[in-house]
Symmetry: C2
Subunit: 194 residues, 2 copies
């Protein structure tokens, strides 16, 4: 099981215009985050939960395709519900609740891994990250108070690249390194032709 949390501080929490995703607090980035967390070619990674204030469960989600506009529509529908402290399903596999960051982290049953520039190399840590909730900031990063809160709870602080990457690119790389770690280090060549 893999879980990802995007802390999207700028993203709007009211319904927004699908023609202007970047103007809805960089909702385009949130959409791509969900796409990269959940989608492979012609399918969904069923062992993934993706949190974006709202929770999208890979094993239950239906009619999710990887284009931003489709996912924007799913988020829009969730945001049109009145939210309560407990999770509520807005469309198949998509859940919404009013929870603060601390509550969400404390409720996660596994360890927390924080994706951050000064973290340990993911190639060294990938074998330990399965089951973790991986926490990422948006294009501006976490606020200082959020950062302290996450660092206090995080078992791992992990860096994915020498370059500053977008949240969705980081998610793709985390999946890639975890997929490789799951294959075992000694297998060498990997192929799809099995």
């Amino acid at each position: 099981m893999r879980s990802f949390l995007l802390v999207a501080n700028q993203a709007v929490t009211r319904p927004f215009n699908l023609n202007g995703l970047p103007n809805a607090g960089r909702m385009d980035l949130a959409c791509r985050f969900l796409a990269q967390a959940l989608c492979v070619s012609h399918g969904i990674r069923e062992d993934v939960d993706a949190f974006l204030l709202l929770l999208v469960r890979g094993g239950e989600v239906r009619t999710l395709s990887p284009d931003e506009r489709n996912i924007g529509g799913i988020i829009n529908k969730a945001l049109s519900l009145s939210v309560l402290p407990a999770w509520r399903e807005s469309s198949p596999g998509v859940y919404v609740a009013a929870k603060d960051l601390a509550t969400l982290l404390d409720e996660h049953p596994g360890d927390i891994a924080y994706l951050v520039e000064d973290g340990e190399d993911i190639r060294e840590t990938a074998g330990k990250l399965e089951g973790c909730l991986v926490v990422l900031g948006d294009h501006r990063g976490l606020e200082e108070e959020q950062e302290q809160l996450v660092r206090r709870r995080a078992r791992y602080a992990v860096s994915v690249s020498p370059h500053a990457l977008q949240a969705d690119q980081c998610v793709t790389i985390v999946h890639y390194e975890l997929d490789r770690a799951a294959e075992g280090p000694s297998e060498g060549k990997m192929s799809l032709s099995r």
Copy 2:
């Protein structure tokens, strides 16, 4: 220098509706391919050329942001031009020409690397791929004739994952492995805090 070519056989070559990118022959996939080839956080990889029948030059492109709708607009503008065998600029850094696959491959000054399921592990080959033109298929893969044509010209056949991934995810992983290879294998921990 890095170059990527997406062979998007289904993508339309006439102007299309920005509200229906998936219905324009999976133009959403083409848009994400360009975004992942060219964008890092808050910037463009200036040492990248991305080919999609049309050529987008990282060092010259202006006003490109990573959301699909923005990039869809840039492609739309290019497709509204009448195309000639020679490259023609449709917007800053974006060039369009009528070339077949063989011509495009033959004109590339560096080696060709074909991203394919039964290829060599990218982790073993990344050090040799800088300067290559990396060729990818869309969600249906190359047609048989295209496949033979590319394999005949390709110096490297490379596999990126044990999973079937989308073209944009493959591009992110190629950049990731090439970035790491460029850092040198002995550096160990990578960090953004330099």
